[in-house]
């Protein structure tokens, strides 16, 4: 009833190419973004902003990057944690070695370095596919884990191996309080999401999707597989690298290589698969699922255990929540292998007729 596009005519090319062709979508997205910018800082507690909103947004940005590679170009990567680490350490090194650079520039340069390394590790994708490629990307993960742990230059020879982010000065604005951090991250995430959305709608994105759907056919209609695959690796690693730099600078503040271990790669891969491969909205849903659910389980399990007379100690709670988490992941994969984004599109179909179905 409310979600019906009848009567909305596209009378210009720009209307035809709009990101959200339906007015209701446009209004809803604008309302959500406006609420995130204007309402959230006033209603949310510091804890909520710091440990839920900021990490979820950054993870969503990294998931957008990974989704470009896996969901749009069909190249499975298990090395996204490493590319986050490259972004973080590159941005850190730019920030401390060239102090004149504005913070935003060092973060973006971190992404650029990550993109270059991504292209290098994308070269095997020209010859191999599927799980062989996935395992090959693990090489990046393990190599960079080791490099940042063992090579002192990258951590500026700090004895503990843990490094501190520089002060967050964005063109004279010092990002300090939780609200400021949140706004900073939200702004960047919005800009980059818009960028990603437009990339995947444009001709580059269409090339990626053609390669994903059938690479040989794509080659025959004139798409260069090398260019398409390597550009997907570059763009994806750039996004993931920027997200890594934000994760380190804004969310963690001080970090060590363990923050970007293989678990992070799996977390991101889960986020895009639970959220929905080949969907930008799915990245946000999936990242929220992957970040919030474990926190929720950790909080909710002890009282639930008490209900049935089972007092859990801390270790048991963490094991038990891992177990429930695994079961829920399997459950979601079985119920909707195409992810939460697919669920949302089903809901939209239903909404068109609601409340008067045939």
């Amino acid at each position: 009833m409310f979600y019906r596009e009848a009567g909305q005519f596209k009378i210009s090319y720009s209307a035809d190419m709009a990101i959200f062709p339906i007015a209701q979508d446009r209004i809803a997205v604008l309302a959500i973004v406006a609420a995130a910018f204007l309402l959230m800082p006033f209603v949310a507690t510091e804890y909520f902003l710091n440990s839920i909103m900021v990490p979820t947004l950054i993870l969503a940005l990294a998931a957008v990057g990974l989704n470009i590679l896996v969901g749009y170009c069909g190249q499975v990567s298990l090395g996204s944690g490493a590319f986050m680490a490259i972004g973080a350490y590159a941005a850190y090194n730019f920030a401390i070695r060239v102090p004149e650079l504005p913070l935003l520039v060092s973060i973006l340069l971190g992404g650029v370095v990550s993109a270059m390394v991504g292209v290098f590790f994308g070269i095997p994708s020209l010859r191999i596919k599927g799980f062989y490629l996935a395992v090959a990307t693990l090489a990046a993960q393990f190599f960079f884990d080791w490099l940042f742990l063992r090579a002192g230059w990258f951590t500026n020879y700090t004895p503990s191996g843990s490094v501190n982010a520089p002060r967050l000065d964005v063109f004279g604005w010092t990002v300090n309080t939780p609200v400021e951090r949140y706004i900073f991250v939200l702004g960047l995430v919005c800009v980059f999401t818009l960028l990603a959305k437009n990339l995947v709608r444009g001709h580059v994105g269409r090339q990626w999707m053609a390669i994903r759907d059938m690479d040989i056919a794509a080659e025959i209609i004139g798409i260069r597989p090398m260019y398409a695959k390597l550009s997907a690796f570059a763009v994806s690693s750039f996004f993931v690298g920027v997200a890594g730099a934000l994760w380190a600078f804004v969310h963690l503040g001080s970090w060590e290589p363990l923050a970007f271990s293989i678990d992070r790669s799996f977390q991101l891969l889960f986020a895009i698969i639970i959220g929905g491969l080949g969907s930008i909205l799915g990245c946000f849903l999936g990242a929220a699922f992957m970040w919030i659910l474990p926190i929720f389980l950790d909080i909710a399990l002890p009282p639930l255990g008490e209900l049935v007379g089972w007092t859990m100690d801390k270790a048991t709670v963490s094991h038990f929540s891992v177990m429930i988490f695994g079961a829920l992941i399997i459950f979601f994969l079985i119920v909707e292998p195409h992810g939460l984004a697919r669920l949302w599109s089903i809901v939209k179909e239903k909404l068109r007729l609601w409340p008067f179905p045939y």
Binding site: D145, W146, P225, I273, A315, F325, G326, I334
Partner: protein
């Protein structure tokens, strides 16, 4: 020269253990096309179950009762299967539809009562190992019934992520049930080092007896698997499924049953790996990372080749140890600065990556990768 051989042999023996884990991957990938990341978690679970059944330090009486019931139920179902000789058509409404359930519940009750009578004292090895196998068989059944069957016909990546979910579940479950400390495992394998070839080299070559017995166990296991695959009816069915799912199904091989068998076999392989690794390092959470060590082995050997898993494991094991010992010295000689140590961590992967560029299907893998 003696030192070089010592490093080489040590590496080869470690490689045997990598092969053990890789073998579980290959079995499942061949039969069902599932890239089973949970193999490492299965090693952990098998090890924890075994060590806690032999020397209970974490689990109590009720765990024993539960495992006793489980073991008896699995054994009862197995006996039923053997007596009945495969499935037969059962008319709907016939009481025999419920026969397996009845047998499982009955045997489970008996087993539970027996375990209750025995108390939480820890079981002897001859009982604990079959019990651990029964636990792994139960895991295989649950995985087949509740994960693989609903996800049939999904893309490989979805199945892979599902096995990651299984990994989380098994990790959490086994540590909730069996505890999460480091437990030393003693099944009677000697740990003393021995010197070999003392007449050839000055001082001989130092080798750990445990590694040798591990290699022997692995050899026996591989030989047993080879016989199982080549000479038995089920083995033939497994090979048929590995060749072509659809054709195998059309000649009447029940796919679900085959998947259950192959996950059970992978569970048993995991138990063997747990016994050997556990005797060496103790049963602990880090055993799950064995899965990560086995991946480059698979790339080197090919995802679908059992001999490939063995040879790949040996190559990775030896290459890793040699690189760890000689690379820093080499870089110091060539570049002037020594490389930081600990390259064991990634060497196998980079080796596999370089290898992939030249031979994408692995040493013995089938040529299924399309060139683009």
């Amino acid at each position: 020269m003696g030192f070089f051989l010592e490093v080489l042999i040590g590496g080869l023996l470690t490689g045997v253990l990598y092969s053990l884990v890789a073998l579980g991957f290959v079995l499942i990938f061949k039969a069902s096309g599932v890239f089973n990341f949970a193999q490492g978690a299965m090693v952990l679970m098998a090890g924890l179950a075994l060590v806690q059944l032999i020397q209970p330090t974490y689990i109590g009486l009720w765990h024993f009762v539960g495992i006793g019931a489980l073991v008896a139920a699995v054994a009862g179902l197995l006996v039923l299967r053997v007596l009945r000789g495969g499935t037969f058509a059962v008319v709907k409404g016939d009481w025999r539809v419920h026969l397996p359930m009845l047998v499982a519940v009955g045997a489970g009750l008996v087993g539970g009562l027996l375990a209750l009578a025995g108390g939480a004292k820890g079981w002897p090895l001859w009982l604990a190992i079959p019990a651990a196998i029964a636990v792994m068989v139960a895991v295989a059944w649950v995985v087949e019934r509740w994960v693989l069957r609903p996800l049939v016909n999904q893309e490989g990546i979805i199945l892979f992520m599902a096995t990651l979910g299984i990994t989380f579940f098994i990790d959490g479950f086994s540590q909730t049930i069996f505890g999460s400390n480091v437990y030393p495992l003693n099944v009677g394998l000697s740990k003393d080092p021995v010197f070999l070839l003392e007449s050839v080299f000055d001082g001989g070559i130092l080798v750990n007896q445990l590694d040798i017995s591990g290699a022997i166990i692995a050899g026996v296991l591989v030989a047993g698997l080879a016989v199982f695959f080549q000479k038995t009816r089920i083995g033939r069915a497994l090979r048929a499924v590995a060749d072509d799912h659809a054709a195998a199904q059309s000649v009447g091989i029940p796919l679900n049953w085959i998947w259950f068998i192959v996950w059970s076999v992978a569970g048993i392989v995991a138990l063997v790996a747990a016994i050997v690794w556990g005797s060496k390092l103790g049963i602990q959470f880090s055993l799950t990372f064995l899965a990560l060590k086995a991946l480059p082995v698979l790339i080197l050997g090919g995802f679908t080749s059992v001999p490939g898993a063995i040879v790949g494991g040996l190559l990775i094991g030896a290459g890793e140890k040699l690189a760890e010992v000689y690379f820093p010295a080499l870089t110091k000689y060539v570049l002037g600065t020594a490389m930081p140590g600990g390259i064991e961590y990634w060497f196998a992967y980079v080796l596999a990556l370089v290898f992939l560029l030249f031979r994408p299907q692995g040493l013995f893998g089938e040529r299924i990768i399309e060139r683009v």
